[in-house]
Amino acid sequence: MPQMTANDAVSRALAEEMRRDPSVMIFGEGVATKRQDLRAEFGTARVRNTPLAEGIIAGTAAGAAAMGLRPVIDLLFAPFLCYAMDEIVNSAGKLRYMSGGQFSFPMVVLSMTGAGWGVGAQHNHNNEAWFVHSPGLKVVMPSNPADFLGLLKAAIRDDNPVLFFCDMPLMFAPGEVSDREHVVPLGEASLLREGGDLTLVTYGKTVHNAVAAAAKLTADGIQTDVIDLRTLKPLDEAAILRSVRKTGRLVVVHEASRTCGVGAEIAALAAEKAFGFLRAPVLRLTGPDAPAPASFPLEQAFVPQAEAIAVAAARLVRGHTLKADTPRFATA
């Protein structure tokens, strides 16, 4: 299959959906400058630069979505979502319900985050869990170019507001993507690898670390299910529970901070709905409760790496759990 970067997959998804549906448009700071191809094909009305003001960009998207357009907005980096929380959470997320169903908000919010570029905590903050916690929103965070394409197309077609998180270092990595129409339904996790001893659940960049860890573990005779969530809301509970009920062991991995993160939700899910099947404590390997540092070695240490995942998983399977005082993030 042809190779393509996640960036190109995003561009392709935008172009295909704008071709398919004239109500799809995109705007944001520098969007028209950076996407000359889209501007050339779809014109200046549907591909726009905006003033530098995230709040009104998101509010404009919500208002336009309620009145029949399907806007995609690029808010650049996840920390900038802080300027648009009212429009995303209080307007797009709530006004359908509050109006008794008079409006819906088919819009997509693009943003980037994740360690790798050394840009520091005001450009890199994995805050996706905020939106998983908020009503009326959907949340997507892909790990490979094919999913970037298929999930973005599904997000644009969805009638609800979708937060679409792009893990920075993944954006320029190539991957196989089919030439044919490719849509990945929201809410379906993908099982990347099968094994009976352990379930690794993760999403975004750390999917690759989990897969690498699983490979190491096989060498030690430990067989691992690796689940790439892909959509964080709605969560594919069935896929997670199916695997955990099979393996009886769960390790959740993500770069975002631990407390009240997506890993907490998955661990809680297992402790409630797979309790009888669990053979070991549920572990979370996550980023620390700290802002993201710019310094390269610290930034790398922020992210749960393959080695740390493999070590923790092996200990778990062998029956010694981590000491309570062992930090759960990658420097452990």
Binding site: I56, G59, A61, A66, L95, Y97, G100
Partner: protein, 315 residues
Amino acid sequence: MSLDLIEALSRMILIRAYEEKLVELQTSGKAPGTCTSVGQEASAVGVVSALAADDLILTNHRSAGHLIARGADLGRLFAEVMGKRDGYCGGKSGSLHISARDIGVVLTSTIVGGELGLATGVALSRSMKGGDGIVACFFGDGAACEGRFHESVNLAAVWDLPILYVCENNAWQAFVHRRETMLTEHIADRAAAYGIEGETVDGNDVEAVFAAASRAAAKVRATRKPFLLEVATYRLRGHYEPDDQAYVDPEELARWRARDPIALAEAKLKETGRLNENGLRALERGVRDRIAQAIAFAEASPYPALTELTTQVYA
């Protein structure tokens, strides 16, 4: 378009009666605290009367006047405030964010500034789809302090969005006087900072408001550019019910009470002999009947089923 002052007066009396009834409901524990627009009826009736049927309205927490001026059903309004099933929003909104899409009142937000953030999007969909409808966005002098005001007006200016911004400057921002929140008297003066036009009008003279709003709406319709209309008025009751207004300067309040928009319109009609006491009484009787019927409807309406708790969250 022209304004029939008698018609305008009866609308204003209807709004006043509706809100006084709300206060009664609140006091008797039948409805939660609400924000009334008593004293600002001329702004609602004057502006809304200047709009066309295909224009859209965004409003805020102080919306009863705008809704009723636009012809909202009083029964469904009362029902919404009481949290009943037949309310405009099925009881999920309550009084603070009533939208009534069927009459073109869309996307109300009680987040001060929220409606300013949404209006640009509503106007964008209008300009993408063509047609000559415009968008009227009501907001307060307090909302003009929020950053979203700045962002909204600037974007509308840069993108040529057909928005009639209507700032109801009622001198109060909850429990804070406008004087404490800005050095300038008038919000319309800020239009220049965005390269657009603005105007301030006496908000207690319904004919003056109608005239200014008609001119402004015509400009927006013709140029597709935003216009910043400031309606200078005063909040005669508290921020919400109950509110003893202990923090209000009695002289200022008295000055504005003397300029009650309803009294001004009545006086003008009587002077010109277009309305006499009997006419006025008849008009008031009609309003009382409508209120009574509406209340009966709302009280008869059931509460929503508990299963409604989780419906309409996702499309």
